[in-house]
């Protein structure tokens, strides 16, 4: 029985780590602009699809992964430059709607540039399952968990130890004061879009060997990542990670012990519950609404 539990926990952690990476992308852009970027799932898709395309064209896997992250980052920059920045004086809701439009556009472009087939990346280090306490684990899962940890550490360093990172945090706290201090809010926005695009792409590449990739995977992953971000508290890095892992575990345990038919329901019931009972999420800061 305990082997079963271990298996569910492992499945939950794998799912959760992916949701956490997507949720982090949401958090970064939300911090910089208070915009919820609904094209976040599309960055995940672009990462996976670009990496498979590069591998198919003969690049070795590590190079293909780097190139894919670079491509997604470029798309993130372009999204900010061409769609968000021209409308920067519009309300946050308008900007959110723009990102929804951008996500539809990106999906359509992906299905044209690549195709509508499902693609797979080779696993980074073989597919022989590793046995742990009667349960099994794919080596790729370790890659996902490890990369998530490294990313989180790198992000912590970036936001707390570098000038650009601190500038982003400053803008998130008070854009006006930040501008008075000589921080370019426009540059901060640009960097944060590029950064979350890179994060999304990384998630997309990591999961491609496990769950494959196709032009339309961004929708569901984006939603799940959004649910994780809400659960963790929008705009909080540690919250996004906690939210992602919690969501993954709840899904896996729910599917295992309750009913698999309602697996997706858990995720969305959680969003509703979090919005009603815990509007600031697990780790969200209490936002004081100024009147």
């Amino acid at each position: 029985m305990s082997a079963q539990l271990v298996q569910f926990l492992l499945a939950g952690l794998t799912l959760g780590a992916i949701y956490a990476l997507v949720a982090l992308g949401f958090a970064i852009i939300y911090n910089a602009s208070h915009v919820i970027n609904f094209a976040q799932g599309e960055f995940v898709m672009i990462g996976g699809m670009a990496a498979t395309a590069f591998v198919d064209s003969g690049l070795p896997l590590p190079l293909a992964a780097l190139a894919a992250v670079a491509a997604a980052t470029l798309v993130g920059f372009l999204l900010e430059k061409l769609a968000v920045e021209p409308a920067r004086n519009a309300s946050v809701v308008t900007l959110i709607i723009i990102t929804i439009g951008a996500s539809i556009l990106l999906r359509g472009l992906a299905s044209l540039v690549w195709d509508k087939k499902i693609h797979s990346l080779p696993a980074f280090s073989g597919e022989a399952p590793i046995a742990i306490g009667g349960a099994t684990l794919l080596p790729q899962t370790l890659w996902v968990l490890g990369a998530t940890l490294v990313t989180v550490a790198a992000l912590w360093w970036f936001f707390n130890r570098t000038l650009t990172g601190k500038a982003i945090l400053a803008v998130s706290h008070n854009p006006l004061a930040a501008r008075l201090m000589g921080i370019s809010v426009r540059r901060v926005l640009l960097v944060s879009f590029g950064l979350s695009a890179a994060l999304g792409a990384l998630a997309g590449i990591l999961i491609a060997p496990i769950s494959f990739t196709s032009w339309d995977i961004g929708v569901m992953l984006g939603l799940k990542g959004f649910a994780a971000a809400i659960l963790g508290g929008l705009g909080s890095g540690p919250g996004a990670i906690a939210g992602g892992l919690a969501l993954g575990l709840i899904e896996a345990l729910g599917a295992g012990y309750l009913s698999s038919a309602y697996k997706d329901v858990f995720a969305f019931v959680i969003i509703l519950a979090a919005l009603v009972f815990l509007p600031n999420g697990l780790a969200g800061k209490r936002a004081a609404e100024r009147v």
Binding site: Q4, Q7, F8, L10, A11, G12, T14, L15, I18, K116, K117, I118, S120, E127, P129, A135, T136, L137, L138, I207, I210, S211, F212, S214, D216, I217, V219, M220, L221, E251, A252, L253, A255, G256, S260, A261, K263, D264
Partner: protein, 378 residues
Amino acid sequence: MSFRTLFAVGALALAFGVQAQEPIRIGAFLSVTGPAAFLGDPEQKTLELYVEKINAAGGVLGRKLQLYAYDSAGDAEKARGFVKRLIEQDKVDVIVGGSTTGETMAAVPLAEAANVPFISLAGAVVIIEPVKKWVFKTPHTDRMACEKVFVDMRARGATKAALISGAGGFDRSMRAECLKVAAKNGVQIVADESYGAGDTDMTAQLTKIKNTPGVQAVLNAGFGQGPAIVTKNYRQLGIAAPLYQSHGVASKQYIKLSGDAAEGVRLPAAALLVADTLPASDKQKKVVVDYKREYETRFKQEVSTFGGHAYDGLMLAVEAIKRAGSTDRAKVRDALESTKGYIGTAGVVNMSPQDHMGLDLSAFRMLEVRKGDWTLVK
């Protein structure tokens, strides 16, 4: 308009009417784009290819075929609109199309009301059950796939099976059909799990199945990436019971995605998939090899069974028109219903007033993945 010009126009029309034979109008509505594009795209290509070929060979009854094809993009509402246009504006003689069951069912009332023979390319049983006077279909049904799998399970001594299915329309329809016919085929379903669209990990559900006592075989009803993930997770967990997939993933892509994990997986599929390895004595050999060659040389991509459905639909219509000796809709319908021994890509078709599909279980071949390729299970 003066009387003289009117007269001239009339005379001209008359002259042309005598000289050029009216073309035979074939109507089609297919999901060429959208989520079901993998169905509609090869279907459309197949129709275009064969209409062209038939016309180059002199047409049917000395008349050319003319194809009126619309892209319904997997949307039942759009399908309805296009079928209306096909019937009222294009005045087609026969409709071949409806890539998905949803689109087909939206078109059924229109075809029935207008008395137009309608050959659907979609899978579900509801299209032909209960029998609708003007509606026919070419693909196998999901119920047949279930039965084929259960028969094979029994042959391998398995009577207790677990079911795992996705959340899509195809998945759910097949799951329902399998549950319905399991008992009749002597198989007991002891576990019934599901997963969502876009799910990335099914180890939780499979662990549950693994720990269900008495499971001797597992059937995964689904298509898309889900079945490939199930296959990988299945091997990861080291489940020993044989795994069956549905005809929904009967393509090379499934093997490519699942890699080594697919070894030993069985699934029911049309003969087209193993065209080259069929024995020469097989009735379908010539048809499927010819279609495969034509399609692949023209479009430089692998054939799919879906394109084959469109081939069967068009050929059934053409044969019926030939036998009816005209495009009189009632005569064509009667000819379609009396189709006997037509050999198509899906199997040998014997229609009757009670059966508007005309395929039996022999149309499905049981395939097993061996060394990264499909092999026929003897």
